[in-house]
């Protein structure tokens, strides 16, 4: 009898420990989910961060330790991927901004190079384009300049295009 009681107590302790472990894993999942959501929001709209983790199919259930660990690890992996992707993106934007600065300083050295706002991590449709002043004459004379586009087309102009393209 004492042995049985001892075993029951031990089993109870184990169950309690497992519950605590699941609780801790759930807490970690919550923290990681918040971090991933933050990264997805930070990247939007210039980049999409993949957030699905491919959870095993099944109905809603009390997920066990192994399953929760899988979810936590998958989230951590997603966050790692997202951070690496964002860091790579930031590095590219920095390089493009440096290119733009050099291009603005010496347009003739960057003939026909075009840098968009998206290339430097800015919103909108504008771009910088190294072009010759006065067309072919400028090309022959080496009169190069960086032309800044006027940005996104206005809604009215887009509507006019749609009207033109509409059949009939």
């Amino acid at each position: 009898m004492p042995g049985l009681l001892e075993r029951e107590t031990h089993a109870g302790l184990q169950a309690g420990d497992e519950r605590l472990a699941r609780s801790e894993l759930r807490r970690q999942i919550g923290r990681l989910e918040r971090e991933l959501a933050g990264l997805a929001a930070e990247a939007f709209p210039l980049r999409t961060i993949e957030t699905p983790i491919g959870a095993p199919p099944g109905p809603p259930r009390i997920a066990g330790l192994g399953e929760l660990e899988q979810v936590r690890d998958a989230l951590a992996e997603r966050i790692g991927e997202a951070r690496r992707a964002l860091a790579k993106q930031a590095e590219l934007w920095t390089r493009n901004r440096e290119l733009l600065e050099r291009m603005l300083a010496d347009p003739a050295a960057y003939k026909w190079v075009r840098v968009s706002r998206a290339d430097v991590g800015e919103h909108g449709c504008g771009h910088w384009h190294s072009r010759p002043r006065l067309g072919p004459l400028g090309m022959l004379m080496g009169w190069w300049r960086v032309k800044v586009s006027s940005g996104c087309p206005l809604a009215g102009r887009l509507a006019a295009v749609e009207l033109q393209e509409a059949p009939g």
Partner: protein, 221 residues
């Protein structure tokens, strides 16, 4: 509020009933709860005031909103809970996120008549998971529990996997807690609607009350 006999929203005070969460489930998920109110049903097309409210909500809602939604406390809480019960919220969407996606896909919150529009408005306003049942088809109090061996959902083929988290009345499971097709939904013959909110850890009680209040007020408007 418009129309003869309409009640002003402020005059109506809901007193939600709170259901039981099975002890094993409650021990695993503190903060999980279920609450509901019953109101007289008004089925059919939504009145102009409700459709206008849907349009106003549509105008306030953009793509960026859908992306940033998951950073907000309540949608985040549901996403976390989904992950904790083995669902991927990017595959099986939380109610608020599904609504956001539908809004972006359709270009607006489309009207589906009452009481569906009331539920849509309440979810869009509060992000609380809400659903509507035909109150006459419910027996006793609602609860959240694990399915027992051999149980199935009414009108669905096959048995539920043992331990599936379900919303149930005192007779049988009504539907999966999340991620399933709605059960015992409202139809033309429904006389009373049970508006049911599922609360998870991180969702304040005041938000649940507000969701129920908004949905009930819209139905009664």
């Amino acid at each position: 509020m418009e129309g003869a006999g309409a009640r002003p929203e402020a005059a109506w005070e809901p007193s939600p009933e709170h259901g039981r969460v099975a002890p094993r489930v409650a021990a695993e998920f503190p903060g999980l709860g279920i609450a509901w109110v019953e109101v007289d049903a008004r089925s059919g097309p939504s009145p102009e005031a409700v459709r206008r409210r849907l349009r106003d909500l549509s105008d306030r809602f953009y793509g960026a909103h859908a992306i940033h939604m998951r950073e907000q406390p309540i949608p985040w809480s549901y996403r976390v809970f989904f992950r904790q019960i083995g669902l991927d919220p990017d595959d099986v969407r939380t109610p608020a996120e599904q609504l956001a996606l539908d809004r972006l896909h359709d270009g607006a919150f489309l009207t589906r008549g009452l009481p569906a529009d009331a539920v849509t408005i309440a979810i869009a306003e509060t992000c609380v998971a809400l659903r509507a049942y035909d109150a006459a088809r419910l027996e006793g109090r609602l609860c959240i529990r694990e399915s027992a061996p051999g149980e199935s959902l009414a009108g669905r083929p096959g048995q539920l996997e043992h331990g599936t988290l379900v919303i149930a009345d005192e007779r049988a499971p009504l539907e999966l807690l999340f991620g399933g097709e709605p059960g015992r939904v409202v139809d033309r013959d429904t006389r009373r609607v049970a508006l049911v909110a599922v609360q998870v850890k991180g969702v304040p009680q005041v938000a649940v009350d507000e969701a129920l209040w908004i949905a009930a007020s819209v139905i009664q408007s």
